[in-house]
């Protein structure tokens, strides 16, 4: 299923945040969305699910498999949220409820969306925890978020997002809050899940290094507009826009551009 964003404009209390964004996600592909903070990349992700802050105004169109999302009634929108389009947030320390068990946060929306009973939900949850490579999935089910490390928490958050087999995953800076040493593991996991489940992934990040490791398509945003879109290889090697070039120039040399075979390695390792 594809997700198409066309002419998306957002303003908050009269202040323009997005000035007409066009993006298109396809299944089995990771679409990287880059740009510095304040460029509107996070807002784009939130707008898809109608999660913009109090007092925002939205125009344009967001369609999922041809179905318009922006005008959905609250009840129908809730069916899409978590059910067909899921989201992973930047900081797993704050995006998981600190007082509810991992199991509870994994099964609650499953039971709501898929209408399955407690036992079935539990079985699926444990299976999911295994899939995101959490050691001791059975015990992990009954534990609380603060009992996991940052990287493990983000894996839990990914499991929560994937619980109802969504078609589209929006990952908002999923590795920014994590230690460098565990970032690669989480990215590898995302890439693998994308290939295995045929997910369409929107990977929002300011880190072009992250982008070069996993993205198929890359879009670059500046001041609420997409200034460049294209296949990763082309955008990162031969940037057409001056802003993309300046972003690339600000990277240390070792991280610049995709190293040959990097993506292939990740793919084989995970699947």
């Amino acid at each position: 299923m594809t997700l198409d964003i066309t002419g998306l404009k957002v303003s908050i209390r009269g202040k323009a945040i997005l000035g007409g964004v066009d993006l298109s996600l396809r299944e089995g592909q990771v679409h990287g969305l880059a740009g510095e903070s304040g460029s509107g990349k996070t807002m784009t992700g939130l707008a898809v699910l109608g999660l913009l802050p109090h007092g925002s105004q939205v125009t344009g169109s967001v369609t999922l498999g041809g179905r318009e999302l922006l005008t959905l009634a609250p009840k129908e929108l809730n069916e899409v949220r978590g059910g067909q389009v899921a989201m992973v947030f930047q900081d797993p320390a704050t995006s998981l409820h600190p007082m509810l068990t991992v199991g509870r946060q994994l099964t609650e929306h499953m039971r709501h969306h898929l209408r399955i009973d407690k036992r079935e939900a539990r079985r699926r949850a444990v299976e999911l925890l295994g899939k995101v490579r959490i050691p001791g999935a059975e015990e992990a089910y009954g534990r609380f978020p603060h009992q996991f490390s940052g990287g493990m928490r983000q894996r839990v958050a990914i499991a929560v997002a994937l619980a109802c087999s969504p078609k589209v995953l929006i990952a908002d800076e999923p590795t920014t809050a994590l230690d460098v040493t565990v970032q690669a593991g989480v990215l590898r996991l995302l890439r693998g899940l994308c290939d295995e489940l045929g997910l369409a992934v929107l990977l929002v990040t300011h880190d072009l290094g992250v982008m070069s490791a996993v993205a198929d398509e890359v879009s670059v945003m500046k001041d609420g507009l997409v200034v460049e879109t294209g296949p990763r290889e082309r955008v990162l090697r031969e940037p057409a826009h001056a802003y993309t070039r300046s972003l690339l120039d600000s990277l240390p040399d070792s991280e610049r551009g995709p190293r040959p075979g990097t993506r292939g390695d990740i793919r084989t390792e995970e699947s």
Binding site: L51, H97, P98, F144
Partner: protein, 316 residues
């Protein structure tokens, strides 16, 4: 602590307790002092006081000429019933109003609740009590007047000392309804301040939680609004709310002094007032002790509730 406090104060209990004529007679004064142990040095008084405490003896009230513990046993349950009912009402209404205000932020109902809760914390309790007494009892005659229960009904055998509970235990429905009828107005008057306080506080606590990442994440999961409110938002907001509610119980106890006076509620508030104005030191110390115990219990309850609500506290 109570002992130090009551002894630091310069008032003379002898003067407060004996009439002018008796004061003129040194023999009577000396006798009275000896009766109450006031002729000994301060440290001996304190030692005696501590010794008494260990045996559960709080001394003898200079006013009622009965052991203070006996007086307290009679008056404490009445106040606990009143204050307990008031804190229950405050929690239910205060939290409900606060949640409504937060969810309808910046709309008419939010502004209205803000003004109402500020009025609630601005009303002089003693005046409101008098007004309620006048309107509901004297004018409209829809509430019973003073006291805890209709004297004509007698009373249920004392088990807990709480009239409502005792009546239920004894199966006396008539006494129960009478007790609730007597309780309702003073409890509401007493609760008003706390309702206002908790409304304001709940509103800001809920607003803070609503801005948290995990609430947005819960919305992104497509959970219905009421599940998010009750399971995600209220759960977190309850931690600061019960902290404040625990503190508010103290101000509630303060209020009982004023409310009990109007409704002739036979509780500790009235007892404290009588003992304070007559400088009945053993009685004042007894009240202080009760208050201290109540604070300890409240703190304990709040701590237990933290553990129930927040697993991180429990698992530490």
């Amino acid at each position: 602590m109570t002992f130090v406090l009551t002894n630091l104060v310069p008032g003379d209990p002898v003067a407060a307790n004996l009439g002018q004529r008796a004061l003129g007679d040194p023999a009577i004064v000396a006798q009275w002092r000896a009766d109450h142990g006031l002729d000994r040095p301060l440290w001996q008084q304190y030692a005696l006081h501590l010794q008494g405490l260990l045996h559960g003896d709080l001394g003898t009230s200079q006013q009622s000429h009965r052991p203070v513990s006996q007086d307290l046993a009679e008056f404490v349950p009445a106040t606990l019933e009143l204050a307990g009912a008031a804190i229950l009402v405050s929690l239910v209404l205060g939290v409900a109003f606060g949640v409504i205000a937060a969810l309808r932020r910046d709309r008419l109902s939010d502004h209205t609740l803000r003004v109402l809760s500020l009025v609630g914390i601005s009303v002089p309790t003693f005046w409101l009590a008098l007004l309620a007494f006048y309107v509901f009892f004297y004018r409209l005659q829809i509430t019973p007047g003073s006291g805890r229960v209709d004297a004509a009904l007698g009373s249920a055998p004392a088990v807990t000392g709480l009239q409502t509970v005792d009546a239920l235990l004894a199966g006396r429905w008539d006494i129960f309804t009478s007790a609730v009828g007597h309780l309702i107005t003073p409890a509401l008057v007493l609760a008003l301040y706390t309702i206002g306080l908790l409304t304001r506080f709940t509103r800001s606590a809920v607003l803070e939680v609503l801005g948290q990442d995990y609430v947005r994440a819960a919305r992104a999961k497509g959970l219905p609004g009421r599940v998010i409110l009750f399971r995600y938002v209220l759960r977190s907001a309850l931690v600061p709310i019960i902290t404040v509610a625990g503190l508010a119980f103290g101000s509630l106890l303060s209020g009982t002094v004023l409310v009990e006076a109007i409704f002739a509620w036979p509780g500790v508030g009235q007892y404290a007032y009588k003992s304070a104005t007559t400088l009945d030191l053993p009685a004042v110390m007894g009240v202080g002790l009760v208050v201290g115990v109540v604070y300890l219990v409240i703190n304990l309850v709040v701590d237990v509730l933290y553990g129930v609500i927040d697993p991180r506290v429990r698992l530490q």
